[in-house]
Amino acid sequence: MATLEDTKTETPTESQRIELRSFVNLAGEPVSHYWPMKTFIHHNPLHGLERLHFEDAIKEADRFFRGTGYLQNKENRIYYKQGRITEEALNGALKKISKEATIAFGDEEVSHLEFLKAIIINGTGDVAKDIAATILQSSPNQSEIKGLIEIIQGLNKINEKKESLKDFANRESDDLATKYTLGEWCDQSLGTTVQSQINNEVIKWISGFLDEGHAHWSMPYREKTFYGNWKELALQDNSGSLLGIPDWKNKIRNLSEKPEDAILECMSFMSIPKNLWIDYFSLHLAQLAGWTGFLKWRSEQVDYEWQNAFPIDLVEYMAVRIFYEKELVDLMCRAKLGIPGSYKSIQAYLKSFSMGYGLYKDFQSRGLPEEIEDDMDLSVFNQEPLPINDLNQSASGLSSKWQQIRSRQEVAVQTLVVLHIAKSLDLRVQEIIKSGPAPLEILLGWLEEFPESKHGPVWLKALESSFIKEFIKKFDTNIEKLKKIDASEEKPLESRPLSQSIFCIDVRSECFRRNLEEIGGNETFGFAGFFGVPISFSEFSSDCRTDQCPVLLKPNHVIKEIPRAYQAKAAEEFLEGQQIAKAGHTLLHDLKENVITPYIMVEAIGWFFGFRLFGQTLRPKFFKKAISWIKDRFTIPLSTTLTVDKIQKEEAHEMVASKHRATIYRLLIDQYGPLGSSVSHEQVEHLRKLAMDKVPVDSPEINDLNQLLHWNQADLEQFIKLLRQEHNVNERDTDRQMQKITLTGFTVEEQVNYVEAALRILGFKTFARLILLCGHGSTSDNNPFESALDCGACGGNHGHSNSRALALMANKPDVRALLAEKGLVIPSDTHFIPGQHDTTTDEVELFDLENVPATHRKDLIRLQRDLKEAGEKNSAERLARMPDEPEMIGAFNALSRAKIRSIDWSQVRPEWGLSRHTAFIAGRRALTQGINLEGRTFLHSYDYSKDPTGDYLEIIMTAPMIVGQWINMEHYFSTVDLNAYGAGSKAYHNVVGNVGVMFGTQSDLCVGLPIQTVMDGEKPYHEPMRLFVIIESPREMINTIISRHTILQELTRNQWLHIVSLDPENMDFFLFQYPNNWQAIKSI
């Protein structure tokens, strides 16, 4: 197998190219996928690093993305003061890292644990070196300070840590191409802006290339793929020359045709060692993680039209990026240092001139000590190229002096730190001085082992432990009840509920369910919002399909929305109306985007937009009503249904045949004009069969046809050949099309399986007369993040299509008959009704009401009334959590207030969404019923007693739980680092290319959630913790399921989530510890 090291030929081999592609694709793994905003997918931004332990992944991500992985220490200290982090939990977390050691300062003893606690709560007291001495001088007790300094000066630790001018070069030599790209090194060392120059250029090209219909003037040559397009356009663009790249156009012209070859050339020029390539590419791809995440997603889509039309992948992107780097680094290194811009030459420079470079770097990064500056001519640092030989010489003479000064400063810093620790531990400084160097040496050693950068994991564990201990107490009363029920001391209420409603497991359903149940007579369940029916949904009159399932799945079935049979005329009018609206929209868009027309348009119809501007800003509710009124007048009401049934084979066959016949007709008319159109239907059918080899060539119909078209045998054969080869009228195409058509809908057996799985997982015991299947979605105005508020289980879409599909299946008599055979008897008077909860307005829209039997009218009216009442209560509860809502006392119309939030285009936070969630509970409703979980908990209905084999729990743990973990990690990282993993503030967002948002006119694509979703002003609203998955099931069963699945082992071993068992044996909570240990929550 030939690899890159084996051969040094001019033109790379195919093996070398493919190997390089693999390097780049592997390098892309730390970068998380970014889905287009219209279907926002909550995901773990560090998903690509889940193979690592949570804490190691955060370190690795820091290297690539420069992101923070933990809440800031100051925020954690506030939690501690507020009691959100308890002292007990903090002690517990510190115990895990503390040693059994104490140090004595006179009579006063300090244990390692006490020390850790003191510095985690009060900080280390570390200050910048150059100001430490000044702070010390202002201290009142100078004699104590002097004594302390004398001891610290003599400590081995201080002498071992003495800085040397060579340290800068040594450190950078290690970090070059492993922590920093050559471009980044230039920026940090030479004060250049290579990275931003590369990023700006790349954003310019990629945002134009990836545009999906947003730009009025689209980029030309996109069909040539990204690399080809760039090569073409860069020739006509002078920005490369403006950046100073010499001979720009020739260099572009001479670049290889293949992006792989271009990368290989650049890597060879920059002489990056091959063993560093993957990491080096990762550093590059992480630079604009939003854009690369999106193109990574796009390049993996098999049937994505934009990708098929304008291909792009990580390799093409890398080829462009690395070319700019090669050129700019070379330019800068030659100008600033007088060396070529390659890894080897930079390494050699650092090695040969380490002393002089140290002096230069110290001057540049923090400024030289005054005493050194006085001895030097500082203008040397501004000379280009840097007179490194002179500097090296100066450094040799100044090295010892420099070292002494820096050492003195270090002593001052350590003295301040010791004073701070003494205060935190309530130690007397005199005692410390009296105790001599030995204990102080240990103390500073402990400090070195636990710097502020290592406090994050401890605070996180303490926060999680505080939370879970408090959280499980909420269930005490319900657990007592469950114990009695399980011991048959108390019978649960088994009367038939007035209605049953199945909601999504989404945390926002928790409040709604509770409010609905409190009205009385309504039983509720929680299930993944796609209702277990993975479909690709095609809305009536829409050209696009949406994947209505978690992104973990690829749907194999297509469901179409079609007008009901009696709606043929209405459907026609609807489509006509839609055509007019579409034409109007296009016209308006064209007028707005044209160079000339906007000048006239503002005069002519600008006032119309003023109506919208003022209406939506000043009186949003009135405006919405007015618009609804107008819409009602013009919208053609259309009643639809879904194609849940599979098309029969014969029917599908006929559909393909009819398509083929149309092709033949068209071809005959094209070739023979009016004569062709006179060919009879039977003759066309005969031609089709002939093309399929289904009939003999010699038949009366063919003879007639030959006569009609004046064909001889050769003409006929030619026509048949044309049909088969050019127009795909052949057996193979029929098979292919049949396969496609039969993707639509489900067989009865499949429908039975879906309904059965849903009802059995949920643990249905009794069936009400009306069962609501309630998906969810959200509506908000002027909100690019709208789909982040939609259903994650439905792939970031509204969930009504799935609820409609399952309801249609569950209402079918043949499905019920087969279910009854399987022992799942649904009473004949039970009717499933689909609905959708709007999580912003708390309105529930019911669908397919035509299907509700007349006998269920009263039930329906009652359910509608209850849903409205629950919505009102839920809105009131949610509004109370909104910081910008005035406190509402007494009766007020909460639904109306919530509605205003959804239509106010200046509202940056229409709802809190899933923010502040903490736990996922899979268990019986009796465990959580009546408890106000504040919309912070995913609730999945599950009854372990009905799942002896664990099959249903396995489904929950391998799908909904994983989606929950993605949502959790998205919120976690968006909160702890608003810029690296979050999307920053919505106020500065601009929609780009219809795919995402960026800041201003040029930035990375913003990934993650915006500030307005996770922050309440300056404070985090979302409490960043790893998800607690609480499962009411025996521990052994959970062990078995985890042992079966690599993904579960990975997530638990690496602590990306916590699994808690509520063991039915003793109804106690246990925390899972990989591989198969359980610790009672009470004892953690």
Partner: protein, 108 residues
């Protein structure tokens, strides 16, 4: 039977987690392998113990097999592409000799 002429080819079977399916298909597409077959949700035992295929709603974490048949000259590039992947991730790769009736179907 003796009238049928068989042509030698290489059959490659790759077992990986569904999440990495695109990595493998990208290599095969670039090499212009004329086709491949994907078996989803498979079970079996390997270095990491027994792997259960019972994943109703999760394609990305289930194990999948990709099977392709290519002319011998394409084997080397395919292996060059997959080797770095298998150095980082778990998975298996098998190469066997195969014979086909219509070589033009496997040599695009």
């Amino acid at each position: 039977m003796s009238e049928l002429k068989l042509h030698p080819m290489k059959e490659i079977k790759i077992i990986i987690e569904g999440e990495h399916l695109h990595f493998v298909t990208d290599v095969l597409d670039r090499i212009k392998a004329s086709g491949y077959t994907i078996f989803k949700n498979i079970s079996g035992k390997g270095h990491g113990g027994f792997h259960e295929g019972h994943m109703m709603f999760n394609d990305t974490s289930s194990l999948q097999v990709i099977l392709t048949v290519v002319p011998e000259e394409k084997l080397d590039p395919i292996l060059s592409g997959l080797k770095p992947f298998l150095e980082r991730h778990s998975g298996s790769l098998f190469v066997t000799n195969a014979s086909v009736l219509r070589p033009d179907h496997f040599d695009s």
